[in-house]
């Protein structure tokens, strides 16, 4: 198009028609959707591939270990030379201990922070605090891990002398701190989207600000708050670095939180970074554990979806 302005008698419509008839444009128009579909399919196939590998290798594992022993076994001793046992319950319990402690930390603090941000904070305070909260969510988990091991654990040991170096309490608290911004931020979104007219309705009845927050806004935003909690807990279940560093590597079938534990994720790290040979039962066991973990987080995500649909408040 080395033209210098419109030629005589040439209309803009003619120029448009010329351009429309170009071959290249038609090819691009036709081929782009195909390219886009391919990129979309890549992620779908990757997911399917991962799940398929998990299922395949897990199946291989269960050729060697009885599935009932795996699900109901209370001893996880894969490295025991003469008679290794593969009972998943100690690892599940380790994961649950950490997740429950994390939820106990993150849910009350997160919701309280959300109430403050949505109902009490001035615009200025909100503009400062929210980004800080989001920075907290961006801290690498390995940093949280040694924070738990070298800072939180020693402090806790002052309070609870019987606390071991590796325990469930310290990583639990730190995982709670890690998921707190997620609970706070998503819950705040849910509460902020409750229309102001509803708050005014309650205020006009003589309700105090606290009564409006707790008895009108909180229930109205409940579905969003619950699904934020479920999502955060599913992150806690899948959390790896913090529990590997500060939780220890002793699978235990009890409810003690002051002793060393091992979570499902930490076990996978232990085996992956060790020298378990390809094709050994230990090698296959990490797929079985990974698959179990996948089931857990999948269920949590489905639960979150169900809750946000089921309890959606209409306003």
């Amino acid at each position: 198009m080395a033209s210098h302005g419109l030629e005589k008698g040439q209309s803009v419509q003619q120029l448009i028609a010329q351009s429309r008839n170009k071959k290249g444009k038609k090819i691009i128009e036709k081929s782009m959707p195909i390219l886009l579909i391919i990129t979309a399919l890549i992620s779908v196939f990757t997911t399917i591939g991962i799940v398929f590998t998990l299922i395949f290798e897990t199946f291989e594992f269960f050729q060697r270990v009885s599935i009932t022993d795996y699900i109901f076994g209370t001893e996880w001793m894969p490295f025991s030379g003469n008679e290794p046992t593969y009972g998943i319950l100690p690892l599940v319990l380790g994961t649950l201990k950490v997740s429950v402690i994390a939820a106990l930390v993150a849910v009350p603090l997160g919701i309280a922070a959300a109430i403050y941000l949505s109902e009490y904070a001035s615009d200025k305070a909100r503009r400062i605090i929210k980004p800080i909260l989001e920075v907290l969510a961006g801290v690498p988990t390995i940093v949280y891990g040694f924070f738990a091991l070298t800072f939180i654990t020693p402090i806790l040991q002052q309070l609870i002398p019987s606390l071991k170096i590796f325990n469930a309490l310290s990583p639990g608290i730190v995982v709670g701190i890690m998921i707190l911004p997620m609970v706070a931020s998503l819950s705040e979104d849910a509460m902020s989207s409750v229309p102001n007219s509803i708050r005014e309705g309650a205020l006009a009845l003589g309700a105090t600000k606290l009564e409006v927050s707790l008895k009108v806004v909180l229930p109205a935003a409940l579905s969003g708050i619950i699904s934020s909690v479920v999502l955060a807990v599913s992150r806690a279940i899948g959390e790896t670095m913090i529990v590997s560093l500060a939780g220890g590597a002793t699978p235990r079938f009890d409810f003690n939180v002051t002793d060393s534990i091992q979570t499902m994720t930490a076990y996978i790290v232990q085996v992956s970074s060790g020298d378990a040979g390809y094709g050994t039962t230990i090698y296959y066991s990490i797929y079985a554990v990974g698959f179990t973990l996948f089931i857990f987080t999948l269920l949590m995500n489905l639960l979150a979806q169900y809750i946000s649909k089921r309890f959606r408040e209409e306003y």
């Binding site: 205020l203 009845l205 306003y315």
Partner: protein, 281 residues
């Protein structure tokens, strides 16, 4: 104000409900004042929204406030229950005396005022809760927990808002499943549940269809036997139909405040006449 109670007003007595007549015939002819607004000014930042308002709202009357958009009529009734304070830039001078006390006194608790002075909003704003919980919300936050008493209050309030028959079989359903007109009557019932003294209504029918509007208007007529009502409306026919007194607001000032019959038949101010005859606004 007394000499303005002319023949018109006396004739109206005949068509009023018996209870109304009884009370008006009782020894204290002069109705007591609910709200006395004295030299009241209000600013939003630099914007002078209300200028030197002097108005007195009487008991068991419907006082309508009319005027074009932006004239300050909504601002005025939101000042009466201090909802206007939700706007951070709002500031006021002058006094609004409610039953002998200036509501802007530092010692006057805003929750106490709003418990006595209820409000119905322009757009129905029920809580996203069941119909029952909507009505019971007010009594509950004020400490009434007894289930039997709450049941009674809910029924009485819904009857009072003329919606009991429509919802009595679905009290546990979400209030948002109702039509707009029904929602608005739920909001009125919610307001009645704490038995306020005054009900402020901020264009309560502007989001409703004509039939729902008619129902709410009839309801206002019934409610004035027991409550004092201040209603802001865009609709001049509505003011003429349902109110006893009418105030005409223009650019933040009260142009005229008088008996409704007088305002709509022989207004004193030219601007009032221009407005009610549809020449502007």
């Amino acid at each position: 104000m007394v000499d303005l109670k002319t023949k018109n007003e006396n004739e109206k007595l005949i068509i009023k409900s018996p209870s109304q007549v009884d009370r008006e015939a009782s020894p204290s002819i002069e109705k007591s004042t609910v709200f006395e607004t004295k030299n009241f000014d209000l600013w939003y930042g630099d914007h002078h929204a209300l200028k030197d308002i002097n108005l007195s709202i009487k008991e068991n009357e419907v006082s309508a406030i009319i005027g074009p958009s932006g004239c300050g009529k909504s601002t005025y009734i939101k000042a009466l229950n201090r909802m206007v304070e939700l706007v951070p830039s709002a500031r006021t001078t002058g006094e609004i005396i409610y039953r002998g006390r200036n509501i802007f006194d530092a010692s006057y608790e805003v929750e106490e005022l709003r418990t006595r002075v209820g409000m119905v909003f322009q757009k129905p704003n029920p809580f996203p809760k069941s119909i029952y919980d909507n009505i019971a919300y007010g009594p509950r936050i004020h400490g009434i927990k007894n289930k039997k008493i709450l049941d009674e209050i809910v029924e009485k309030s819904l009857r009072g808002a003329a919606i009991w028959d429509e919802v009595k079989d679905r009290l546990n359903q979400n209030a948002y499943g109702l039509s707009g007109g029904q929602q608005q009557r739920i909001c009125i019932a919610r307001c009645l549940a704490i038995e306020p003294d005054v009900i402020l209504m901020d264009e309560p029918t502007s989001a409703l269809d004509p039939i729902s509007t008619l129902k709410v208007e009839e309801l206002v007529q019934e409610l004035k036997d027991n409550y004092s009502i201040v209603i802001v409306t865009h609709n001049m026919q509505q003011a003429a139909r349902i109110s006893d007194k009418t105030a005409f607001f223009l650019n933040g000032e009260v142009v005229e405040f008088d008996n409704t019959d007088k305002i709509f038949s022989t207004p004193t101010d030219q601007r009032t006449e221009d407005y009610i005859s549809g020449r502007f606004g």
